[in-house]
């Protein structure tokens, strides 16, 4: 039945949405593609975060710790050590993976707000490190990265789209698989889950590793799209906030929801651009109203009510 679900999901969502998205470059301007490209990367951050937060129940305030490690790992490899693009992406991803395992350590000991605090600290420390080693990292203005995936708008759009689709399939598969079930159980009641014979530590490490893998890789790829990496684009709390809003607004524990949330967030930001600095506030206000009146997000709006307590 799980497998059926998966095929079913592929056949409807992927076929319909994907076809339109694939055809999009035919009709849309480079600007629209550019906006969606960024939205796709944000969607991967949010999906990866959803795996940890929604399924494994980890209050992770530091998704950008992982994103930042991936981005800077890749960026530094390329700009300082002149390593080509794809090996650099691999290095960044690996660095994020290590970071994910480091973050999993406290997660196994601490719960709730305490763990959240540690992740917050991790982000702040990473930011400080970038500042301290500014001769390599460029400090607050960041790195300029010469290599690119491609300079074509369409090409970048397809890279991001393809990567997002792969990430979505992988994360959704895991989330809907046995592992997802066990993760969700250990998020809800770790003791009872252990008593069922599951090594909760193992699953948490796996969840952190997977989340780190995708968010790190997304960070690395985005760096080669943007042509630069700076704390403001991949590390600061503001990026974390975007990730959290995208997930909550889209609908937690759906993996698909965060995609909708991320697209909403970026697109709404662009549509509201004429409002200038108030645009962020308005987006946040919409999100807040959603939270108050439709707590399950976009995905929840379309799920039939009932069936849930």
């Amino acid at each position: 039945m799980q497998l059926k679900h998966l095929i079913h999901w592929r056949s409807t969502l992927v076929l319909l949405a994907l076809i339109v998205l694939i055809l999009m470059p035919l009709g849309a301007s480079g600007y629209v593609l550019g906006v969606l490209t960024v939205a796709f990367y944000l969607a991967v951050y949010a999906m990866s975060w959803d795996l940890l937060f929604g399924y494994a129940g980890e209050v992770n305030f530091g998704p950008t710790f992982l994103v930042g490690l991936g981005a800077y790992g890749a960026g530094l490899s390329n700009s300082v050590f002149s390593i080509p693009v794809w090996p650099s992406v691999a290095i960044g991803t690996f660095l994020a993976l290590v970071g994910g395992l480091v973050l999993a350590g406290p997660a196994l000991r601490l719960r709730g707000p305490y763990f959240g605090l540690v992740t917050l600290v991790a982000v702040i420390l990473l930011e400080k490190m970038i500042g301290l080693f500014s001769s390599y990292t460029g400090g607050e203005i960041g790195l300029t990265i010469m290599d690119v995936l491609t300079i074509s708008n369409v090409g970048n759009f397809y890279y991001a789209l393809g990567f997002m689709v792969i990430a979505a399939i992988a994360l959704r598969t895991v989330a809907r698989s046995s592992i997802g079930l066990i993760l969700e159980a250990s998020g809800q009641d770790p003791v009872a889950t252990e008593a069922l014979g599951f090594n909760v530590t193992k699953y948490k490490l796996f969840a952190f590793a997977l989340s780190a893998l995708f968010s790190g890789m997304a960070g690395a790829l985005m760096v080669f799209y943007l042509g630069s990496a700076s704390p403001g684009t991949v590390v600061t709390v503001f990026v974390t906030i975007q990730i959290i809003i995208a997930t909550i607004v889209g609908g937690r524990r759906t993996i698909l929801g965060p995609i909708l949330g991320a697209i909403f967030l970026i697109v709404a930001g662009e549509v509201l651009r004429p409002l200038g600095q108030l645009s962020n506030a308005v987006v946040a206000l919409i999100a807040l109203l959603l939270l108050l009146f439709a707590p399950n997000g976009f995905a929840g709006l379309f799920a039939r009510s009932g069936g849930r307590a």
């Binding site: 039945m1 799980q2 497998l3 598969t173 895991v174 698989s177 046995s178 592992i179 079930l181 066990i182 969700e184 159980a185 809800q188 009641d189 003791v191 009872a192 252990e194 008593a195 069922l196 014979g197 599951f198 090594n199 909760v200 193992k202 699953y203 796996f206 524990r253 069936g307 849930r308 307590a309």
Partner: protein, 492 residues
């Protein structure tokens, strides 16, 4: 050789020796009852067996392997399973998926389970009586089905040793019988079962052996008959003995003195719900001026729910009248101000504040002089509070905290004092203190008392009338002296 042999098991939490040198063993096809009053250490013992808590000392040998200190999931794989008293099933998954969870292998390398799992899950659901609701979500299930689900999950692991933590708590009699049938089935399947419960009576017909615990120690072991007869056990449960307890009828005399039949509190609850579960139905209860009434019943019978409803902490269908006036919907603050003081089971002290500050807050509506006078009375009643008056509440021992809770309630100068499980987990000496204090209060002030207790000795000793609550229903009411004759040891 026994499948499980426990020897010298000990665990200390801070200043509390929760489990003290406990030994027992259980064979395949045997049911062992672990009984004792609340706080006696039986749940901790189960946690130690399952590896949820690491033992300080002692051996837990399972088929010859010492598993003491192992991590829970390894113990589970060794063949032990546990049904937790409070556990949270996956709310967004169906009952079937919840059962399938328990059937999954502990591996990262199998994303989707084989189809045989589905059949297994259906079989297990069938066996525990969940066949009709396999596609429902846990949130929609009645309480008994949730317990069934927990048992199903444990069963799914095909355990050699099954630990059941109070499996009958909160169940209706017919459901209790069904569950007992399930336990018998486990025995027939050659599993060893360890079952924790409060009283002997409920499990007597089910278990082969009983280990009775008190204050972390094993106080008796043997067949149900042996343990029931054991004087030590009887004393723990009944104080001296039931007969003598209900014989102490100073209470009746007292009421004669105050001579009042005026109803102070009248409760008519049609229904109280927590979400979908109905916790109380059709409970009518009355407390007269100066009278002491107790509501007895085991854990989960609905005593706390009743008291919370009276104080308007919970929404309910029905009406509560105080001195003839309906107070329903007034809010807890207003109800409390009208002269009802509740000492909740959770105590709800202001933990970082001093004893004196806690008491003063209780008497915040009194003027200074009156408050000082009342403070003196409370200190008289509980001298230890006078000594400890500058200490923060959460540095007190359990008994002192209980006295403080009562003291704070008394500072309100209530006309009715409601005590929810005032003796829970307390040493006999402290219980005696509290007992004396209550007697004094009644004698000197004519305070009406509504007592919620599972400690029958204590309840019968103080009350004139008794209500027996069972799974949310009022099962019996009457004079305390008739309790033993009419209900007797049935409830124990």
């Amino acid at each position: 050789m026994s499948i499980l042999e426990v020897s010298g098991l000990s665990k200390r939490f801070g200043g509390l020796q929760a489990v003290n040198d406990v030994s027992f063993s259980v064979d395949r096809g045997q049911v062992l009852g672990l009984i004792g009053p609340n706080g006696s250490g039986k749940s901790t013992t189960l946690s130690l067996l399952m590896g949820v808590v690491r033992p300080d000392r002692g051996k837990i040998q399972m088929e010859g392997v010492d598993i003491a200190g192992w991590r829970t999931h390894r113990i589970a794989k060794q063949g032990m399973a546990m049904v937790f008293q409070h556990s949270r099933p996956l709310a967004r998954q169906t009952v079937l998926e919840n059962i399938k969870l328990a059937l999954l292998p502990d591996t990262l390398f199998q994303l989707f389970p084989p189809h045989t799992l589905d059949r297994r899950a259906h079989e297990i659901a069938e066996r525990v009586g969940l066949a009709k609701v396999v596609n429902e979500h846990p949130g929609e299930l009645p309480f008994a089905d949730l317990r069934r689900l927990e048992i199903a999950k444990a069963l799914a692991q095909d355990p050699a040793v099954l630990l059941l933590d109070e499996p009958f708590a909160g169940l209706a009699p017919s459901e209790t019988r069904e569950f007992a049938e399930l336990v018998r089935l486990f025995r027939e399947e050659d599993r060893a079962v360890i079952l924790v419960d409060h009283n002997v009576k409920e499990v007597a017909g089910l278990v082969d052996n009983i280990v009775a615990m008190h204050a972390g120690k094993r106080i008796a072991m043997g067949s149900p008959e042996e343990v029931t007869r054991d004087p030590h056990v009887r004393e723990v449960y009944f104080g001296s003995s039931l007969e003598s307890a209900s014989g102490v009828h100073a209470a009746g005399d007292r009421r004669a003195q105050s001579g009042s039949d005026r109803p102070l509190l009248e409760v008519e609850l049609r229904s109280v719900r927590y979400g979908l579960a109905e916790a109380l139905r059709n409970v009518r209860l009355q407390v007269n001026d100066g009278e002491c009434v107790s509501v007895v019943g085991i854990n989960g019978a609905g005593k706390s729910t009743l008291f919370k409803s009276i104080l308007d902490f919970l929404p309910y269908e029905g009406v509560v009248r105080w001195q003839g006036q309906a107070v329903t919907g007034n809010g807890p603050g207003a109800v409390a101000s009208s002269g009802i003081a509740l000492c909740p089971e959770t105590r709800e002290l202001f933990r970082y504040m001093s004893v004196r500050e806690n008491l003063e807050l209780g008497g915040h509506r009194l003027d200074n002089q009156e408050r000082e006078a009342q403070l003196e009375r409370v200190f008289d009643l509980f001298p230890v509070l006078r000594q400890r008056q500058a200490q923060a509440a959460d540095t007190l021992s359990g008994g002192e905290q209980q006295q403080l809770t009562i003291g704070r309630a008394l500072m309100q100068k209530p006309r009715l004092l409601i005590l929810d499980e005032p003796t829970l987990g307390l040493a006999p000496l402290i219980i005696e203190n509290i007992s004396e204090a209550l007697e004094r209060l009644q004698r000197e002030t004519g305070l009406a008392i509504l007592l919620g207790e599972q400690n029958l000795t204590f309840a019968l000793r103080h009350s004139e009338r008794v209500y027996l609550l069972e799974t949310g229903n009022l099962r019996w009411q009457g004079k305390a002296e008739n309790f033993v004759a009419e209900v007797g040891e049935d409830v124990l």
